[in-house]
């Protein structure tokens, strides 16, 4: 179960990622709780395993169209499949890593695992997940936090 302040850490990390990396702010919607173990995914998902003081996963999921525009905003000219996958993993890694500012050093993050076009392969380890909806330009994405 996450406390409100802990959810705020991920909201702030998401906001900071977009404004710093793309110089365009994202609008983050109200986080909501999903209890059926199916928080949902888009085409590309970067998953970070969490161990240590907390256990579970954090993932960022988005469509290719959004990731392509994000790459352009980052002045990256290559939008190959490899780079798109790299980006979705890096977003998840950055937001999860930044959370250690509040969660501390024992919030241990894995290297990213990227899942593309296989929506049912992203499995939440617990029934309860918090979903943080992200709107950036005309695109939608989600950050999902599923911690014990």
């Amino acid at each position: 179960m996450l406390k409100e302040a802990e959810i705020r850490t991920f909201v702030d990390g998401t906001t900071n990622f977009f404004v710093t990396s793309s110089q365009q702010a994202a609008s983050v919607g109200s986080p909501y709780l999903v209890t059926d173990g199916k928080p949902g995914t888009y085409e590309y998902t970067g998953v970070i395993g969490i161990s240590g003081s907390r256990k579970g996963i954090v993932y960022f999921t988005a469509r290719r169209a959004m990731l392509t525009v994000l790459l352009m905003r980052m002045h990256e000219t290559d939008s190959s499949e490899e780079i798109i996958k790299d980006l979705v993993g890096e977003v998840a890694n950055t937001i999860s890593g930044n959370a250690r500012r509040d969660f501390g050093k024992n919030f241990i993050i894995s290297v990213p695992t990227v899942i593309a076009n296989e929506l049912d392969k992203v499995i939440a380890p617990h029934s309860r997940s918090y979903v943080i909806p992200i709107n950036w330009r005309t695109h939608s994405a989600k950050l999902v936090v599923c911690l014990e």
Partner: protein, 130 residues
């Protein structure tokens, strides 16, 4: 050339990050005239091999990487050349990690995400000790 027209010896820069995007971003965005990129590695093990081959003066170092993580890699590179300047560039934002990296021999810490200006300011600050 420096501002007086005298030639300045270039410093060799190696970039270490498991993200190709970040490696390319640092290479593209760094605007320090004295720095010349000599290589980019995707994990600590590759970085050690490249370090021995290219003998860089300056290294940007991610921390969360497969094979050998950044903290272990910092320690190894400093043992190979205590004069190397290492800027840790990582998403791990807790103070304890930054302190550990500095204790192992890193000279600076830049938190991801970063702007081009933040990157160049951090590199410029690093070079003041060169």
């Amino acid at each position: 050339m420096d501002t007086n027209g005298a030639s300045v010896t270039p410093l060799k820069l190696m970039i270490v990050d498991d993200s190709n995007i970040i490696r390319r971003r640092i290479e593209r965005s760094q605007q320090i005239d004295r720095l010349e990129v000599v290589g980019a590695a995707g994990n600590g093990r590759e970085a050690v091999a490249m370090f021995l081959r290219t003998q860089p003066d300056v290294v940007t170092m991610d921390l969360t990487m497969p094979e050998m993580d950044g903290i272990a890699c910092v320690e190894k590179l400093v043992s190979l050349n205590p004069k190397v300047l290492i800027l840790v560039v990582s998403a791990l934002a807790d103070k304890a990690t930054a302190v550990e990296a500095i204790e192992k021999g890193a000279n600076g810490f830049l938190c991801k995400p970063f702007t081009d200006r933040q990157l160049n300011d951090a590199l410029a600050e690093l070079l003041t000790v060169a």
